[in-house]
Amino acid sequence: MKKVLALILALSMALSLAACGGGSGGSTTGGDTQQSGDSGSSGASGGDTVRIGVFEPSTGDSGPGGKQEMLGMQYANRVTPTVDIGGKTYNVELVYADNGSTSDKAPTAAAELVGKGVSLVLGSYGSGVSMAGGPVFDDAGLCAIGVTCTNPGVTVGNDYYFRICFLDNFQAQVLVNFAEEKFSAKKAYLLGELGNEYDQGLITFFEQTFTGNGGEVTKDSFPTNTSDFTTYLNKAVSVGADVIFCPVSIAYATQIIKQAAAMNLEIPLLGSDTLDSNKVLEAAKGSSVQLYVSTFYQEGGSPEFDDGIKAWLNEDSTAMTNNGGDDTIAAVTAMGYDAYYVALEVLKAAGSLDLTAIKSALPGVTYTGVSGAIGFDDTGDAVRDTAYIKTSDNAAGAWALETVQTAS
């Protein structure tokens, strides 16, 4: 019995500690900390600043991608640091929360943004964390705009999650069409990380479409933190695959490509939007690997944007490091840039910082960004019918546009 008492005391102690912390944590949000109020209107804080939450991973597997996505937003914020809402000019402040690429850290990261009183959230790179954070935004009545989270599950069942990118079923279909047109592929080898819903979702869609068209697939999943992919690649050779589809995260992609290069793999590799990264490009450089990725944006799509961001990357060394050490523009960066402007459009359309107004204004917003026209459908997904397919020019170490695919 005494221990129960002990427990109670312990809990209350921890609680009081937490409450102290709560006070100090709360004070940073300014304004309305200790007052109870309805959750719909608490976003409005501190005078002339509007806060936009950046819900992105900067550590973990998706860290590199998350950083590149943030670069787009940061650049956009440099270019357009203010916004006029309801006839008043506000400074836009980006508020970051690292979701660590894991779905168990995502809810608290999301909560941090909610707690800091942001008006709108952008992100995340990686669908899993978006889905984990989603309900927190949903509860708080805070709208989130997914930038490159392509898994269908992100927006389904969540009224407050929107996104500006295409979905995985579309992406998989595009890649299947491409594989069939370009390589007359009949056999495909699909490789993804075990338990990663992004990988497995794309693989499943690819399989469904590909086998639906009469193709044949072999599927494999590797455990997290695997480094040895030679066996898998050899297996692809031995089953006589015409293409290898590996929609994996950047860290794995670089290894797969390096190992494919070492074994002189002749089968073309197909990748999804995650592979559109300069790290991947660097891995393929100088090898004979044929690499094709589907993506949201191709450098050259908007010269003004390209030049501007490159200039910024070259003068800001931190930004350069976050971009992976060179000034190749990742599609996710372009998407992050567009997402920022979509967010501004939403705020303008809402005419106030009231979360309810933002929620009702968001679905109607349209915007034409560097990656194309953006609008939302009933579930909150982007109306998009275009994907770029890029190939790696291994001699130059750059991406070359292969084709532009539209939904068929």
């Binding site: 900067s58 550590t59 973990g60 860290g63 590199p64 950083k67 075990l194 494999d220 999943s221 590797f222 455990p223 997290t224 933190n225 695997t226 480094s227 040895d228 992919f229 030679t230 066996t231 898998y232 050899n234 297996k235 050779v237 031995s238 950047i250 860290a251 670089t254 290894q255 390096k258 190992q259 070492a262 074994m263 002189n264 790290k279 660097e282 891995a283 490091t321 976050n322 992976g324």
Partner: protein, 291 residues
């Protein structure tokens, strides 16, 4: 056929790399009865150091320096995290090991910013060679021979030098060894030095093969190598090597089959079966409790 050879090759090379890590586990366990969870991370840090040092220094200088620093790291970890806990219960030491592993991973994340780092090409090892139609890196081919050579050297050391004798004495009986004047701390340090040295070599072979270093790179090879050490009978160097090759080969075979989902699970299932059937592993000595 070609496929079978490729699986065999990658299995043997994996096995060799695991063996180099497993020896570190098995020697430390033999002496301290401690699962040195940080060992896999030492392996990863060796990889990262190579990445950074080779960018700044010529390879001829970077290679020995990496080995030296790895050895130093192993030595320091033992002094800082395990030595103060020598009289503490085993669980505390094991937790300290988990803590060190956690710290190394987080430091690596901090240093790299979570970005995968490309391992430099090592001339000779990185070149490819074609065996029976399968093209592989020289590192793959060299690994098993290098492992056997190192293990022979190590067994010579353990069986025929004074230090080796002291190591065996400490492994047999901690307290008595101290009583007869063996400098315990020196022996333990030597063990960590040898273990880290082999992990350093292992990391060179491993990352030459697989090229990219991330903060969690050490976790999986570390775990597998540990399983290999247990499998072979923890405390026994030849056991660790045999165990590592078995684990490496079986991993390769499972990956090549239709059950690749279970390649990790299989490793552990194998471990559990061994532990239950023969709890001290293939070559382990039987220990009976005295009442």
């Amino acid at each position: 056929m070609q496929y079978a050879i490729s699986i065999l090759l990658s299995g043997i090379s994996l096995g060799g790399q695991y063996a180099l890590i497993a020896i570190g586990y098995t020697m430390v366990y033999g002496i301290l009865r401690l699962i040195n969870f940080a060992h896999g991370d030492v392996f990863m840090v060796a990889g990262l150091m190579m990445v950074y040092l080779s960018a700044a220094l010529p390879l001829g200088l970077a290679l020995p320096l990496v080995l030296l620093l790895t050895v130093l790291l192993g030595f320091l970890i033992e002094r800082a995290a395990y030595k103060p806990l020598r009289t503490a219960p085993r669980m505390s030491v094991m937790i300290s090991a988990i803590g060190v592993s956690y710290l190394l991973q987080n430091l690596a994340t901090y240093a790299t910013g979570g970005l995968p780092q490309m391992y430099p090409e090592i001339p000779g090892l990185s070149a490819t060679v074609t065996i029976a139609g399968t093209s592989v890196k020289w590192a793959t081919v060299v690994t098993p021979f290098l492992v056997v050579a190192l293990v022979i050297a190590l067994t010579q050391l353990i069986n025929h030098t004074k230090t080796g004798m002291a190591m065996r004495a400490v492994a047999k009986d901690f307290e008595t060894a101290q009583l007869i004047g063996i400098r315990l701390n020196a022996v333990i340090s030597v063990t960590f030095v040898i273990g880290s040295f082999l992990a350093g070599i292992g990391s060179m072979l491993y990352f030459t093969n697989y090229q990219s270093v991330v903060p969690l790179s050490g976790a999986l090879p570390g775990l597998r190598a540990f399983v290999a050490a247990v499998f072979g009978g923890i405390g026994s160097v030849p056991g660790a090597v045999v165990g590592a090759f078995i684990i490496g080969l079986s991993e390769s075979v499972i990956k090549g089959s239709n059950w690749s989902v279970f390649s990790d699970a299989f490793t552990f299932a194998l471990l559990i079966v061994i532990l239950v059937v023969k709890p001290t592993g293939l070559f382990g000595e039987k220990v009976t409790d005295k009442v």
